[in-house]
Amino acid sequence: MDATANAAERLFIRRPDGWLTRMFDNKAFLVTLCMLPTAGLLLIFLTYPLGLGLWLSMTDATIGQPGHFIGLQNFISLSQDPIFWMSVTNTIMYTVVATSGKFLLGLWLAMLLNNYIPFRAFIRAIVLLPWIVPTVLSAIAWWWIYDPQFSIISYLLVNVLHLRSTYIDFLGAPWNARGSLVVVNIWRGIPFVAITLLAGLQTISPTLYEAALLDGANGWQRFRRITVPLLMPILSVALTLSVLFTFSDFQLVYAITRGGPFNTTHLMATLAFQRAIPGSQLGEGAAIAVAMIPFLIVATLLCFYGVGRRKWQQGAGND
């Protein structure tokens, strides 16, 4: 018998063969043990509340009162509520415009960063800052930037560049306020998109571009025929996540406008909060939150399959 086998045998024999050890070598037991904390946390605080939310949306619960089953009453009253419908259209517009902005600008930034430039690692690091800093805190900075009297943007346009004669009322008029919120959302979303797409760009082999160049492809053709298709898998995942989190956004709007002026900038999430917690109509708030679910499912499927289905066309050899 050679030395290693001997050593292994000794190790094996020395191991105390108690019931506890045997339990840990039982795969079913070990799997249960490992999955228990995660399964417990997610079932209690995620799955159950999802169901509870559905139930609450069909009750007239208020804070401190469990409420009674009232069927679809909440949804019927919401369907006659112009503020609710405005929040729906606001949310859809906000998601579509902000996501397109984020992805166009983010892709551009990713392509800029994919060049060889001095201090690239440093630039990439500072560019991620808007995404790292807590949303509410940077939103407060934007609130101050949008101040009607002391806005630095207005100051720049009026007093420095002399392009306008009056200060802009960023948050006082509905469309200005919506636009301002979208700008902040794009500002905060660009880094995430740029850094994920940059990672995708870096996996594309330069030889493909060389081959295309030899075949006489111009810059746009190389972008359209090589960069875009090879970026699709990572793009579809980033797009899905981005759409999902933009659609369910709460912090930005709550921090900057709180749904104002006159409830014209409410997203579904902020309206749900306003009705449920300060307004203490838990049932109605839950109904608004439940109304978000179909939109979220459709948006997710659309992004994931609409964009991601091209994956199989390129084969699996691009990683």
Binding site: A8, T38, I126, L137, F150, T203, P206, Q251
Partner: protein
């Protein structure tokens, strides 16, 4: 997952030369490079960083300077003062809010990373029947936004008697931390060769010993990524903290700044900006130390 780390670092000189090659023959002039590359890049950097500059400069301005653009150029603090920060630290509950935020973030991070390591190990390494479906379920859990959960969670928290108690936050933050960390760690475990564990199994190590002696030490970069990410996400969290906490001295920094420092119609922009600045410092500091981990976990999580 290791390949994402190499992705994140600078390419070697050879790779650089190759990467630049396709661009060169078509337009080599330096001027064009400045117009199409450096100017847009500079604009991006300026726009992305300006709000932070503005936040800092406002926090350092005395009041008489802040509201008088005619006499003082707004782009610079002419007589910088620490009065705003001093007021915040010694005349409000700010240190208390920082402490609450810090403890909630640390506790929920530990809870989530511990739960995620075990779950990711079970899903990726123990390969039990249905592991794929469990992995998919956890991925789907990540897609459930907190904004549709906070109302039912608020009623549950109320029933548990945890309303107005930071423990409610420690228990609910894992709803978005655990799916993310598990997802990230599955990727890391995938990158560790299975043969290492097989060798240990043959040598008679128990499953727990393998996890402790072989898999976990090799997954340390993954654990760090998951940990700093979870910490950042908890520090960022807003809606649960807004809905579940009522009393002034138990609020987290983001909620407290919005609800406690914004009083009446006259906003104290100096202290608001100082509060936002100080509240960003902890995550910015961690970020500056672990940039590469952030980038690799961000891109790694999307790639999975």
């Amino acid at each position: 997952m290791t390949d994402t780390i190499t992705d994140a670092t600078e390419p070697g000189p050879l790779a650089r030369a190759v990467r630049d090659e396709p661009e060169r023959p078509s337009w080599d002039s330096q001027a064009k490079r400045v117009v199409t590359l450096y100017i847009p890049l500079a604009l991006f950097v300026i726009v992305l960083l300006f709000p932070f500059y503005w936040m800092t400069i406002t926090a350092l301005k005395p009041d008489y300077e802040m509201y008088d653009y005619a006499k003082f150029s707004p782009f610079w603090a002419h007589s910088p003062t620490l009065a705003n920060i001093d007021k915040l630290l010694f005349h409000t509950n700010y240190p208390r809010w920082l402490l609450v935020t810090m403890s909630v973030a640390v506790a929920s991070t530990f809870l989530s990373v511990a739960a995620s390591v075990l779950a990711a190990y079970a899903i990726e390494r123990l390969r039990f029947k249905g592991a794929q479906h469990v992995g998919l379920a956890i991925y789907l859990a990540y897609l459930v936004p907190p904004t549709i959960l906070f109302i039912p969670l608020a009623t549950m928290i109320f029933q548990f008697g945890l309303f107005n108690n930071p423990i409610s936050l420690v228990l609910t933050y894992p709803t978005f931390l655990v799916p993310f960390c598990t997802w990230l760690l599955i990727g890391y475990f995938k990158s560790i060769p299975y043969e290492l564990e097989e060798c240990a199994l043959i040598d008679g190590a128990s499953r727990l010993q393998i996890l402790k002696r072989i898999t976990l030490p090799l997954a340390v970069p993954g654990l760090i990524s998951a940990g700093i990410f979870a910490f950042t996400l908890s520090w960022n969290e807003f809606i649960y903290a807004l809905a579940f906490i009522q009393s002034t001295d138990r609020k987290t920094v983001p909620v407290a700044i919005l609800t406690e420092l914004v009083t009446g119609d006259v906003y104290q922009w100096g202290s608001l900006m100082a509060g936002s600045l100080l509240g960003s410092v902890p995550v910015a500091l961690i970020y500056s130390f672990f940039v590469e981990y952030y980038v690799s976990s961000l891109t790694g999580a999307v790639k999975e």
